[in-house]
């Protein structure tokens, strides 16, 4: 089945291009045969740079080898906001496709002039332009003649899908050789001339203030260059990394802190979330059309805990001042947004600050990348023009970086006499899922709240539904219920710091919706697959569910100790479609043996890249579901090591099979967050299938299973 591609309106530019229309900000051609491509989106371990290079090479008709991808910098790159929300292919990819299509056309016009032939008679192969009678020139020859200092023209038509040669190929990623051959590529591995090493002192207790600081011990450490203190912000920098560590250790001994703020009871998150001052919003209402009478209402509550980003590499940044200008190297997801916050805090014009991206360890959302950049800027201010590199500790990474927000979700369904859903009421209690820098009247960076003249700690909010929502992401059901009401209650307090973690609220909402559907199907005695298909009219949704089910041979015969479950979502209700079937085995412990997924991202630019993202998402979600939960007592975060915050290990990793449904004629969407919700739900549903008990609180651990079985009727 194929449908016409949603054709771009002739009069408008893709969103990133409309914001950055100057063609030269995206592309540059050299006489030596190279094309420099400058996307505003950044590599965060997802392979995006390769996919964007593919799009550019394809549209320009040049070999990939000629493309040089340059990391985002406020000095030169288009401003594409933040690399998040699985939007890089959609936004940067689309912009690049249109830029390259137009630039190719400009070169063809210049070539036609020079060669004295019709433009339409010319063709391009690897940058060489040729036409009738063997006339030829090239992008490289014409590079000086074609002015890209002009704005993009609306209405340009890129190549049709059938003429693309690279998009749709599993081209090898361009960053991998560096990473397996130990060539420095990560920010943690970059060394600047005369670089100093900095460390920042952070309290154990949440939001504790630094009352007293005895610096004597730290001053005695060899190599120490300076101690910086501003209110509760304190740090050191040294000629050596070892020296910085030793000085920090000494400084910690000399620090006296206030008690800090009280944290919630980690064992009753739902009660905490529901007892706080709230801002309530109706997200979506579907008024009843049938006016059917509910015979009974069933109501269930599902929760998920705070979840840590927990990248393997701690956050790192470098900063160097020159007079009243500062240069910052960062693995932030948004160089311009970080610059906005730095400008606010430093009271400097944005032009005085250059923020340049370097690759960091895997990024799954708003982690400490931006915070450590401010740390480096504050320390470097005292470094007399030398660059200062700051690296966070494992413990700080696990306790001071923002977390994915805990959620309590309650769904009530009015059922008719036959057990069909008449009305669906979904409510969410959660902190906001976004407190990114660069978007508010005050900085969102950690140290901003620690200074002697502090900014208040920014309470996280939620992006609007039009951008996919935050806590409410994926809360609007995709099923054809006759009526519904969806509400989000955002906390106005934030004792545990939260911001964007992969999928925002979608993992929690999909877990709740897909678990609840399963509960209703079970009550009806209906197969959960058939139940879902009956309630879905979107063909692409039905296709991924059928594909995953078929591949997993749904439903394998019941076997003791083994269970199967299914989960589905369309990410953000407008992104990638994904369905998952989980096979779990439960004896002493719960093991996910196998995950079978089907995914539809429209056009897959790099199919293996999409599959890699889905596999990774599926495995990370399995880790969240089986193991992860930020731990705290009433004073401090206690899960500060890998022992206290275990993640899935090699021996626990399920087999993962991914079927990609290719739709080259449809606009591409991102794959990075599509799998988490469906996999979470599929595992929970498989646990129910195996044991007949329903776990509604994540993570699904052995202890929770035992407790649920003991309280089962």
């Amino acid at each position: 089945m194929s449908r016409p591609a949603p054709s771009p309106s002739a009069a408008t530019l893709p969103v990133s291009l409309a914001a950055n229309p100057r063609l030269s900000s995206w592309l540059e051609f050299s006489a030596e045969g190279r094309v420099t491509v400058r996307p505003g989106k950044v590599e965060i371990g997802q392979g995006i740079v390769t996919a964007l290079a593919q799009i550019a090479a394809d549209e320009l008709d040049v070999d990939m080898a000629r493309i040089q991808m340059v990391g985002a910098s406020t000095a030169a790159s288009p401003n594409e906001g933040v690399t998040s929300g699985s939007l890089s292919i959609q936004q940067s990819g689309r912009a690049l496709r249109y830029v390259c299509a137009e630039v190719r056309q400009l070169f063809l016009e210049a070539a036609a002039d020079r060669l004295g032939v019709e433009r339409t008679s010319l063709s391009v192969e690897d940058g060489t332009i040729s036409g009738p009678g063997n006339v030829r020139t090239s992008y490289w020859e014409l590079a000086g003649d074609v002015a890209l200092e002009r704005d993009a023209t609306p209405g340009i038509v890129p190549k049709p899908a059938t003429e693309r040669r690279l998009a749709g190929d599993s081209v090898h990623r361009i960053d991998i050789p560096d990473k397996v051959f130990a060539r420095p590529r990560f920010i943690q591995d970059v060394s600047l001339p005369a670089m100093l090493h900095g460390r920042v002192l952070r309290p154990e207790n949440s939001c504790a203030r630094l009352i007293e600081l005895n610096e004597d011990g730290a001053r005695a450490v060899a190599g120490l260059v300076a101690i910086v203190r501003d209110g509760s912000f304190a740090g050191v920098f040294s000629e050596t990394e070892n020296g910085a560590e030793a000085a920090l250790k000494a400084l910690r001994k000399g620090a006296t802190w206030s008690e800090g703020e009280i944290l919630p009871d980690e064992n009753d998150l739902a009660a905490f979330l529901k007892s706080q001052p709230l801002e309530s919003t109706v997200i979506s209402t579907k008024p009843t059309s049938t006016g059917g009478d509910g015979k009974r209402t069933i109501r269930r509550q599902y929760t998920r805990p705070y979840i840590a980003h927990a990248s393997i590499g701690p956050s790192c940044a470098m900063a160097q001042w020159s007079g009243d200008k500062v240069h910052v190297w960062t693995h932030s997801q948004g160089v311009y947004l970080l610059r906005t916050d730095l400008a606010l805090l430093l009271k400097l014009p944005a032009e005085s600050i250059t923020v340049e991206h370097l690759e960091g360890s895997g990024c799954y959302g708003h982690n400490a990348a931006d915070d450590v950049a401010l740390d480096a800027v504050l320390l470097a201010k005292a470094a007399g023009g030398r660059p200062v590199r700051v690296l966070w500790s494992r413990a700080d990474e696990m306790s001071h970086a923002p977390f994915g927000a805990a959620m309590a979700i309650e769904i009530a369904a009015d059922l008719d006499a036959g057990g069909e859903v008449l009305h669906w009421h979904h409510q969410i209690w959660s902190n906001g899922h976004a407190a990114r820098p660069g978007r508010a009247a005050q900085p969102a960076l950690l140290a901003a709240s620690e200074l002697a003249n502090p900014f208040p700690r920014m309470i996280s909010t939620n992006p609007p539904q039009a951008s996919g929502g935050g806590a409410d992401r994926n809360a609007v059901p995709l099923y054809d219920f006759p009526s519904w009401q969806i509400e989000s209650h955002r906390l106005l307090t934030m004792p545990v710091r939260t911001s964007a973690l992969r999928t925002l609220g979608a993992q929690g909402n999909v877990f709740a919706i897909e678990s609840f559907l399963d509960e209703i199907a079970a009550e009806r005695g209906e197969d959960p697959l058939a139940f879902r298909l009956r309630l879905l009219s979107d063909d692409r949704a039905r296709d991924v569910i059928r594909a995953a089910a078929e591949r997993a041979k749904w439903k394998p015969p019941q076997q003791s100790g083994i269970g199967h479950g299914i989960g589905f979502a369309r990410y953000k209700n407008m992104g990638a479609y994904c369905a998952a079937v989980a096979e779990v085995e439960i004896d002493k412990d719960i093991r996910v043996r196998k995950l079978t997924l089907a995914v539809d991202v429209g056009e897959a630019i790099n199919p293996d890249g999409v599959i890699n993202q889905i596999e990774g998402g599926a495995i990370q979600a399995t880790s969240w579901v089986l193991k992860e939960r930020v731990r705290f007592d009433r004073q401090r975060i206690t899960s500060t090591t890998w022992s206290d915050y275990p993640i899935l290990r090699f021996r626990e990793v399920p087999e993962v099979e991914v079927e990609l449904i290719q739709r080259p004629e449809l606009d591409p969407v991102g794959a990075g967050e599509a799998a988490h919700g469906p996999v979470t739900a599929a595992i929970a549903n498989a646990v129910f299938d195996c044991l007949g008990v329903r776990i509604r609180d994540l993570p699904i651990t052995r202890e929770r299973l035992i407790a649920a079985m003991e309280s089962a009727p």
């Binding site: 591995d189 360890s361 990774g616 998402g617 990370q620």
Partner: protein
């Protein structure tokens, strides 16, 4: 300043250093190496793994004195783009990473495994990598890559 000798990627090293400093700190801080990565500082994640003798071990919690007279191999010593180790070739062929930060340590664990067991089973590979953490979820690709390298090394 005390003195210590060891072999690093086949080269004799003779250095003066505080013997309680970690091997990782010396490799990165003194020798400017970027193969071994700092991850946790507590020997819990494996990002800093190097091969000492014939075993993969974390270098962040390994005091310098403990490697006196030992043979140490880092990712830099495993192979290069011009002369890649089969594992490095296999990780590229399988596109066996996402961010790749953990891969430097995982390659060392895998190399140590293939040295002592040239034909590991899938489960043996998982077992050998179990102390290495990967947050991106590239585990299955990495296991495939190790099996591919083993097969390549076994081929006549």
């Amino acid at each position: 300043m005390p003195h210590v000798r060891f072999r690093l990627n086949g080269v004799e090293m003779n250095i003066d250093a505080d013997l309680d400093r970690s091997l990782l700190d010396i490799l990165r801080g003194r020798f400017g190496m970027t193969g071994p990565h700092f991850g946790c500082g507590a020997g819990e994640c494996g990002a800093c793994n190097v091969i000492v003798g014939d075993r993969a071990m974390s270098s962040c919690d390994m005091p310098l004195w403990s490697v006196a007279d030992k043979d140490i191999t880092t990712l830099e010593g495993l192979g290069s783009a011009n002369a890649p180790h089969p594992l490095q070739r296999a990780f590229i062929a399988e596109q066996a990473l996402q961010c790749g930060y953990c891969v430097s340590g995982i390659l060392m664990s895998a190399a140590a495994l293939l040295k002592r067991n040239p034909a590991p089973s899938r489960d043996e590979v998982k077992e050998a990598l179990d102390r290495n953490l990967c947050r991106c979820g590239a585990h299955n690709r990495m296991v495939r890559a190790v099996l591919r390298a083993a097969a390549e090394m076994a081929a006549p």
